[in-house]
Symmetry: C2
Subunit: 356 residues, 2 copies
């Protein structure tokens, strides 16, 4: 559906331009109108952990999930934890461009952030996992990432009493609490707490007109008028739907490697070639390099690439700066995380398997 | 000085056996005597950060040092931080056997723990660094570890304003605060806080006779009587001096690889072949696998190897269990550490260099 997707994009863009144009044309209430217009398109990050489908978020699950998230022994090598590629001290991503995994292999795509991932319509760049509990089962098994198996992972967890006790507390009343499903659910529960409220843009959406400065407001106007918000909208300023990368103009080959056809691998629909989930832009300023290929290191350059390839627009230098300034207002407050003490290995714990 | 070292060991051992033997022979005050004897040989971990030579430990240095410790971008690849091999969530070590570094290369030796390292006579298995500030300069440059250069490291730090500001606060009044020396000093200051007081054995040394159970006390008696404490003594129950590995009997080849001659590489003295700093045994139960080669995965087996190779003694199963029980009493309280938020990269930050 590439062509119809482009048509849709174009229509939404026109609507957006008209709508915002009308609003900001009224000089007296321009500020109020901009806020009102933004509120129709975006939503602020809540300050409390959201509910998760089919997985009530309890304190016990979150605590267990945190330990699992930081435990490198869940990888075959004993070297790689979830946090290796989704570094919570950074923007929930690694140093890029794509992730280094088992045996120093390079993964095919840039690590997506775990921060606010709970708000995305689905997980991974191609949306192949419906939710975070489904997502959590992927990287541990991927041969270029953590390279383990569910059996080995469960052996590791069962070898340490502290883990077994924590699973029992997190999943009470279950005959077998240490399961691959529950491992994934605990990680999902922890990841649901990884939200970053109180960004300047959140405070703006919540009514504080001074939370954005004039340049950021100019960037916000451009972001909506030029059509960026056609794909990047909602609570995560993206992450809500799928769109072709190169809707108007095909990006340079390094940015869009021919072999990675995106969502096509999931749906097998011809129209889904080079279609990806729109990138959620929360905390985007913390997350260079950009795009699924991780080949663009400057946010300003990324804005330029997007406007040309997706909108067919060449922005001026000032416009790019204004939009970058707005994007900087999307940086929220990362939660305080006490680095977890891991259960101690026992003689029954599988030893590291380093071979590629 | 291998032979004289063995003679010394033997003399110390005899003295120790006699001394302890006399003390514990008095039935009425056996407990008091054991405590008194232990106090002559060991010292408890303090509850406050110790002073560090030529590097006053300030809050600003500690906070900076913590961030540096956790920042993988200080490695060429952007993948490996100090914490990768000295995991503070484990015993300050990695999963073993030896460390995985740049390009998935295996280092030659097991990662030593950073916990309580400030109390060691010198750093590394062979004591080649006089202190932690000297040690901190090693792994970042080692090609099999973090594989960077001082220049690249300083470029990385200088590229991020937050780092520059933190260095200025940590090293006030210096014309250039972002230096390789100051990088190392900040890490040393943070590592000085990585002490683990309040182990059962500490509480015992501080006067609580019930802090050790009967089996642990029996293990303590054996530990002193059999001569373990000849090398493993002081505040770190080791880490205070150098001894030949294989003082009485040469360990099996995998445990003592012929190519690694230990302290000989530092001093070039023939008597220092296969001489190593005695392992500090604080938190040893958290730190399998054991020895510089990381080839022994069970603490009980490690005790057996030590008694045979260093003391020429074959312990009974019960004796090994008693000593392991005592060693378990050396597990202290690890500090609570808030996982740091890292400064955000800029366009000037060197990009990851993954090539081997």
């Amino acid at each position: 559906m590439k062509k119809s997707a482009i048509r849709e994009l174009s229509l939404v863009r026109k609507g957006c331009i008209l709508g915002v144009g009308m609003l900001v044309s009224s000089a007296a209430s321009a500020n109020d109108d901009l806020m009102s217009s933004a509120r129709q398109i975006f939503k602020s990050i809540p300050s409390v952990t959201p509910e998760v489908k089919d997985n009530p978020v309890t304190r016990e699950k979150v605590e267990l999930g945190k330990i699992l998230f930081f435990d490198p022994r869940l990888s075959a090598s004993g070297v790689i934890s979830c946090n290796t590629c989704h570094n919570l001290g950074a923007g929930g991503v690694d140093s890029g461009p794509t992730s280094v995994g088992h045996g120093w292999q390079l993964g095919p795509r840039r690590a997506p952030t775990v921060y606010n991932a709970v708000f995305n319509v689905a997980q991974f760049w191609d949306g192949r996992a419906a939710d975070l509990k489904s997502q959590a089962k992927g990287p541990v098994q991927a041969s270029v990432e953590m390279n383990t198996t569910p059996d080995r992972l469960l052996s590791t967890l069962n070898s340490m009493t502290d883990y077994v006790v924590m699973f029992k507390k997190a999943f009470p009343g279950e005959a077998t609490s240490v399961t691959f499903d529950n491992f994934a659910k605990a990680i999902e529960a922890f990841e649901a707490t990884l939200i970053t409220p109180a960004a300047p843009f959140d405070r703006y959406l919540e009514g504080d007109t001074h939370a954005l400065d004039d340049q950021q407001k100019a960037g916000l106007v451009l972001f909506m008028e030029r059509g960026c918000s056609s794909c990047h909208n909602g609570i995560n300023v993206g992450g809500q739907d799928y769109f072709p990368f190169g809707a108007v103009e095909r990006p340079a080959a390094p940015l869009l490697p021919a072999a990675d056809k995106g969502r096509f691998a999931v749906t097998k629909a011809a129209g889904d070639e080079y279609v990806f989930r729109s990138a959620p832009l929360r905390n985007v300023a913390l997350r260079a390099p950009y795009f699924h290929s991780g080949q663009v290191w400057s946010l300003k350059q990324a804005v330029g690439v997007m406007s040309e390839t997706q909108l067919g627009v060449k922005l001026s230098d000032k416009e790019e700066n204004d939009i970058v300034s707005f994007l900087n207002s999307l940086t929220g407050q990362r939660p305080k995380i006490e680095y977890p003490i891991l259960p101690t290995r026992t003689d029954a714990t599988p030893r590291p398997a380093l071979d590629k």
